[in-house]
């Protein structure tokens, strides 16, 4: 082993001495004992590492962080995730969509000979005009219907306040305002529900199923989301 290789290894040697018994460092440490220039280098390297480590370990931590973690965990986290508010909301979303879609598809099946105009009308009820549809809603719909956009990638362009003030359909679920936007992908219809960010939810989507409908729930740094559909689980995952 030459000194360059020894230095490469020893740069990973913790200045606390915690790695003293690690065989990975044995040969390099032994070399430093016999080579004064390497020993001098190691001494300076470790001294500087100790100084930097000491400073970083002294960086102030917000005084309320500990309490926030403990109280927030009690309020938000539950080992029984199926009791959580987020799961109830997703289930409610599934239920709402399932009831609405089931009724209309039953209608379509009963009227086998329905003409083209009636079919358009059913689709309009399912996916169209819920209240006034301002610019914020239209812009979001354009994004959601873009096949290359993945909903849970952390870049959802949503302004919840703008959506609600623009007349986007708003539900009340478990005491929270939830804005609802409908969109289509590859001929399948989806309903996106947007609400203020809920603590304790994962940034990775969780999939729920109920009565033939499915919902995915996740959160980002601003909002929490549920998207519900009667499309397949694979189709749902594909848009996430």
């Amino acid at each position: 082993m030459d000194n360059d290789e020894a230095k490469f290894i020893l740069r990973a040697y913790r200045p606390s001495g915690a790695d003293a018994a690690d065989p990975k460092f044995a040969e390099a440490l032994a070399q430093a004992k016999h080579d004064p220039s390497l020993a001098h280098w190691l001494e300076k390297e470790q001294a500087l590492d100790r100084a930097v480590a000491g400073k970083l370990q002294a960086v102030a931590v917000p005084s309320d962080l500990r309490e926030s973690i403990l109280v927030g965990a009690k309020v938000s986290a539950s080992p029984s995730w199926w009791r959580s508010a987020s799961f109830k909301m997703a289930l409610a979303a599934c239920f709402i969509v399932a009831i609405g879609l089931a009724f209309n598809y039953s209608l379509a099946r009963r009227r086998a000979a329905i003409n083209q105009v009636a079919q358009v009308a059913i689709e309009d009820v399912l996916h169209g005009h819920h209240g006034n549809r301002g610019e914020a809603v239209a812009q979001l719909e354009n994004v959601l219907e873009n096949a290359s956009f993945h909903l849970s990638n952390g870049a959802m362009p949503v302004n919840l306040t703008a959506l609600e003030s623009n007349g986007c359909r708003t539900l009340q679920v478990s005491g929270s305002n939830v804005a609802e936007i409908c969109f289509a992908r590859s001929g399948r219809y989806y309903h996106l529900y947007v609400m203020d960010r809920m603590g304790g939810m994962s940034t990775k989507p969780r999939i729920f199923e109920h009565d033939g409908a499915r919902a995915a729930a996740w959160t980002d740094e601003h909002n929490s989301y549920v998207v519900a559909t009667t499309a397949s689980a694979a189709e749902l995952k594909n848009i996430l």
Binding site: F8, L56, P62, P79, A155
Partner: protein
Amino acid sequence: MTNETFTQLVDAHYTALYRFALSLTRSEPDACDLTQQTFYVWATKGQALRDLAKVKSWLFTTLYREFLRGRRRGERVTSLDAATAQGDEPAAVEVDTVSAMDASVVMAALQEVDEVFRAPLTLFYLQDLSYQEIAESLDVPIGTVMSRLSRGKSQLRSRLAAKSSTGNVIPFSEFKTKERHG
């Protein structure tokens, strides 16, 4: 998990996790969020961890993964090729110089290091994880950890040397936090 056990877990690790989060996010509010999120994930999934001796490594791994997930699309990702090429020997900065620096200045210097080097470097300096645990947490080979530590130290010392030449200036965000105007 009992409340007491969870509290002990928080007390044992939250400060180191916060400092790791701060080095990654470069934002105190985001670092707080990320730290809290990590413990929430533990509260919901951590019971699946059978070997409690690995809880520290689990927490740091989870925090790093949550950071990667939450990072916005389009944010510049530093490629190793694009990272500043440094010689094997880092810029000279003396121990006394670092010792005289404010901790927040040293953290600011660390936050200027390329992200790909910053994560292993922070874990190394927090001294909670060995190079093997760093490799597991970041899901990279051991050799890669050593390489990134080497290059990361080089960058950090360049930043420290630069800051020492411009004076011990406390970052503006820190100043705003401390000086509240009514």
